[in-house]
Amino acid sequence: MELTNLIIWLIPLPPLLAFFFIVLFTNKNNKLSHSIAVGGAGLSFLGAMYVFYQALTTNHFAEHPFGNAITWLNLGDKPFEIGVMIDPLSAIVLFFVAITVLMIFIYSIGYHNYGQPKGDHDKKGFPPHGAAQDGHTVLSIEPMYARFFAFIGLFAFGMFTLVVSDNLLTLFVGWEIMGLCSYLLIGFWFGKDSAKNAAKKAFMTTRVGDVFMLLGISYLFTEAGTLSFKAIFTEEMISHLAHADSYIPGLSVAGLAGILLFIGTVGKSAQFPLHVWLPDAMEGPTPVSAMIHAATMVSAGVYMVIRMFPLLQAGGHGELTTAMTVLAVIGSITALFAATIAVAQNDVKRVLAYSTISQLGFMVAALGIGAYVAAVFHLVTHAFFKALLFLGSGSVIHGMEHGVLHTGNHKVDPQDMYNMGGLSKKMPKTFWTFLIGGFALSGFPLITAGFWSKDEILADAFANGHMGVFWTLAIAAFLTAFYTMRQITLTFLGKARTKEAEHAHETPATMTTPLIVLAIFAIGFGWVGVPEHFPGIGGILPNWFHDFIAHGLPSFIHFETIHFSWTPLITSLVVALGGLLTGWLVYRNATTAENDPIKKLLGPVHTLLKNKYYFDELYDKVLVKPLAVFSEKVVYEFMDRKVIDGFLHKVAELTFSLGTIFREKFDLPVINEFFGDGTAAMTQWFGEKIRKIQSGNIQQYMIIAVLGAFVALFAFWMTLN
């Protein structure tokens, strides 16, 4: 127990130390740098696995989670404690985070072309352009190779900190450190304006959520007097919070705090309407995308809101609370909305980005309707297959870049799916793993993890009668399957549409091995959560996941067991298989982006979708530009310079003119000329006159003195007479 606690404390540290080591000492040495980073991630992985194993094998683990706390501060008479805690939820999150992080670290070595020569024209701040070698142009190593590993180390530290935290404050610390890392990594190729802007956008958009979250934390801290999960999620505290009125009529403290915290998630997990940063985040190197989309950042948002579920459901007594309704609505909208956009994207990573938003919407919606276990389940499975998909797409891009370098035609965008085609033969490992990931995302029945988790969400929605959510998610699931198949078809199937695609090349083992590992999880992890009542295979494997996670919730929250129903099962089968089939049928003969079948079908709607419903433009027009103008013109130039300084200047001017008037009308004529100069002139005149007495002739002086003597004598006589 002691050892376990110690290890929990130590889990976040290796990546952090790796970060400092690389930044301070080894940044010149690529090999040492990546060794340290991967070693750090490996140590964290080992620690996480040890803790996870302990969690599995400890009896009554849910009632007695691991962890301890130390006093961080004293506020007034009360100590403020921070600590670590591993309960079932964080154990499972730690599990997938550790695995995906390690895989991404390993993958990055290959992705950044370790072992390749230095580029001839490569500059720091720009992606590598390739190097000439033996008459060929080959991939060149990333010029800021070591720096990348430092940054992802810090990123991993943030995520681990967030997961092992036993309180909202340290969770927030990890949360914000990830925000910084996303800024640094999305803007990794900071020389490009697009990357620079994307980084700024990501940071600022998530910060919108963060400040609300900060308020939520403050509010919760105020009302509960603590931020420790254990202390808040007690029956008395939750009931107290549920019954205390907040500032907003009709909303309890728990509800308002929950919504404020959820806005943090909206930012971090890119929920509607703060989703705009996530697609742009594709400007970063692909491992970063995987990091953000699967292992760390967006998962963190969902993890936090799942963690806060007891608060969100407080006062609902099984019914949906206001906060949960908000979640359900936002989640459903996001799921559908992002899925529609994904349909119209041609960039291989952008499709995945929107699919992430959409899938996160699934989780949020699931939580909103109270499907706690389903939300966690989908979070985990999604992490695996989305990491897989991103790394796979990175592998594809890498292969395409190889082709681009070969032909030397740099106008070809290696990320545009219409420039690909037929890659399955060139890159078989990538193809098969990507296929697994894609099927998992689509919810391909029975064998993929995505099916089980998505099915559970739909089943929950149906069983509890949230039909709006159910149908919205079902349509979204159909679209998911459709665009996934579209992507697979355009990328891997058919014939190569460009020369570059013909010369694409399978990527090195450092990249493909992580793909294979993740593919295993993308399939196998679904089997830990097969519902007991599932026809045919239900009950063969115990529904371990449900038991494990559901027990992690405080005992006063009750779940009703879901009765099996055919409707959701059939629905999920139909949408998954139907979507995949439609996708293949529509796109198997696609040729160019202009002839996109969907484009013909939808017409102007396609343009709307392709332009992401013009959200970026809208925000730019309504918020970003006006605020920039407001800052510069109104606040600074008008308010400060004109009004306040103007007032001060007026006062100064008034004083100045008063002074001038005093000087010119009073000081100069009256004081100077009359009193000043006048006195001087008089004195001078008098002196001129009187100085003649001062002759130096003593006898003359004496005559005057004697006159005085006479006067004295005379006066004496006069008085006595």
Binding site: L73, I177, A199, V635, D640
Partner: protein
């Protein structure tokens, strides 16, 4: 009369300034070294003081290391210095920042002797304010601080730029800025002086604890000075005090001297100006306004909180709207000091509650933190300015590959200034928000706009200097940060990280002092 450690800290820089004044002026290096050594001696003594602080015995007024002797017998003013947790924190900050500022000004080559002497003199003024427990002494030091800063800006400020005033009058920017700084602060101090005199006349002493006790013993209807009730006198004196400190903090809308002064001051001047001088105002609120006028402060807390929020929001906006890097950082001070004020206002309003303690803790910690990060930011701006001789953000860009170490440091310090968790700024901002939320819910919520735009302007600063394609205009002159400069910034960074990860060592002292202060009020 024996000189204790506290008094030694106070007067060491003065002795140093005299030594420098007597040294032959030609040897600039010696002058610099002497100044540095003197400030380091002060620092070492302050650290000794800090270490011994917990164990030291407090006197009847709750002050440690106190020393008192008659200074001006006719009006019963004593030289009374002593520290509690608040003052100790500020003394530590002052003595900490001064050596770094002096080290940062080693690049000054013009009239080094006068510069260094003024700088040390400035330290005396600042330390005096933090240590004084006698109103008259306090006022003397308060004004002493102004003079060196005026000359530092006026004589060693940035030589470029003019400002047009009314009627076609044009003055050099640094003249304008120094004049504005001086006059503005002096104007604020006038009321303060009058109010202090009034207290002196009423109580026949300037001893702060005695005056506080005296006020509290008086009923509101009692007539003092023969014609005015205590309640009225208190109200007037409260505003006199509050406005003097408000100008110094500065509270919106008294803030416009700050961007000018900060922008035009030499690098080290800006460091000290932002790092310590602004704290004088906030400290004034804590040390004088709250104890002397608790009821009035509580009554006006809403107004102060509103103005603090305005400072937070408009400071952030104005910073975001800047093209001048240094001015951007200057406005960030307005933004950050707004949080200090918000915390103080919350504490004033609800003295006696736990929220107030938290808010006050946050405010004091924010003072310290802002001292570190603002000094760091100004220094970094100065580093780049010394090389390329412009502060215009539009003329920079893409410098990260050219100066990777500098770039990393800039990002680090910017993040500390932004309030990134794990670095110092976050802890204090969180405490302020937490403490103010139940007291000024609306203002706190509104201030989040400012917090959001803090991010915006910090990213603007980083983005416009480091990121993007390289702007070739000045990049030839750009060289990596040198060793001396690293010596300045690295200790500050270590402090930032340390305070972000483990603020307990500082906050414990602050916490005790806050509780003592609020107990007195509540």
């Amino acid at each position: 009369m024996d000189i204790n450690l506290l008094t030694s800290i106070l007067f060491t820089p003065l002795v140093g300034a005299l030594i420098i004044a007597l040294l032959p002026g030609k040897n600039k290096k010696t002058t610099r070294i002497v100044a540095l050594v003197v400030s380091l001696i002060s620092l070492v003594m302050a650290i000794i003081l800090w270490v011994g602080f917990d164990g030291a015995v407090a006197n009847a007024d709750g002050l440690k290391f106190a020393q008192e002797f008659v200074w001006y017998e006719a009006i019963n003013s004593t030289f009374y210095v002593g520290v509690d947790g608040l003052s100790m924190t500020m003394v530590l900050l002052t003595t900490l920042l001064t050596p770094f500022a002096i080290l940062a000004s080693f690049s000054i080559t013009d009239r080094v002797k006068a510069y260094m002497a003024l700088f040390l003199f400035l330290e005396v003024g600042m330390l005096g304010v933090f240590m004084s427990q006698d109103l008259l002494i306090f006022f003397v030091f308060w004004e002493i601080g102004l003079v060196p800063m005026y000359f530092l800006i006026n004589q060693w400020g940035s030589p470029k730029g003019e400002r047009k005033l009314w009627g076609g009058i044009t003055v050099a920017n640094r003249t304008y800025a120094s004049f504005k700084f001086m006059i503005y602060t002096m104007a604020g101090s006038l009321g303060l002086l009058l109010a202090i005199q009034m207290l002196g006349v009423v109580f026949h002493t300037f001893n702060l604890p005695e005056i506080v006790a005296g006020w509290n013993a008086m009923g509101g209807e009692e007539i003092i000075l023969g014609w005015v009730t205590v309640a009225t006198a208190k109200k007037v004196a409260f505003w006199a005090f509050a406005i003097a400190f408000a100008v110094k903090v500065p509270i919106w809308p008294f803030h416009t001297w700050l961007p000018d002064a900060h922008t035009e001051a030499p690098t080290a001047g800006s460091m000290i100006l932002a790092g310590v001088l602004l704290k004088l105002g906030a400290y004034g609120f804590l040390r004088f306004v709250l104890p002397l006028y608790p009821a009035e402060a509580a009554a006006s807390a809403n107004i102060i909180a509103g103005l603090a929020t305005a400072a937070i929001i408009f400071g952030a906006f104005a910073a975001f709207g800047q093209k001048d890097f240094k001015r951007l950082v200057a406005y960030s001070s307005v933004n950050h000091m707004g949080f200090v004020l918000l915390g103080i206002a919350a504490a004033a309003k609800m003295a006696g509650t736990e929220d107030a303690v938290i808010a006050l803790n946050g405010a004091v910690l924010q003072m310290f933190n802002h001292g570190l990060s603002a000094a760091g930011m100004f220094f970094l701006v100065g580093v780049i300015y010394e090389r390329i001789h412009t502060r215009d953000l539009d003329e920079m860009g893409g410098y990260f590959p050219l100066v990777p170490i500098y770039g990393g440091i800039l990002i680090f310090v910017s993040m500390a200034s932004l309030g990134l968790p794990g670095l110092n700024g976050f802890v204090s901002e969180f405490l302020v928000v937490r403490g103010s939320w139940p007291i000024f819910t609306f203002w706190t919520a509104l201030s989040m706009i400012g917090l959001l735009f803090t991010g915006a302007y910090v990213l603007k600063g980083i983005g416009k200097t480091l990121h993007g394609p390289v702007n070739e205009k000045h990049s030839d002159h750009l060289t990596e940060i040198n060793k001396r400069e690293l010596f300045v910034i690295v200790p500050l960074m270590v402090m930032m990280l340390w305070l972000g990860v483990w603020p307990g060592w500082l906050l414990d002292v602050i916490n005790k002092a806050s509780m003592a202060l609020l107990e007195m009020l509540g």
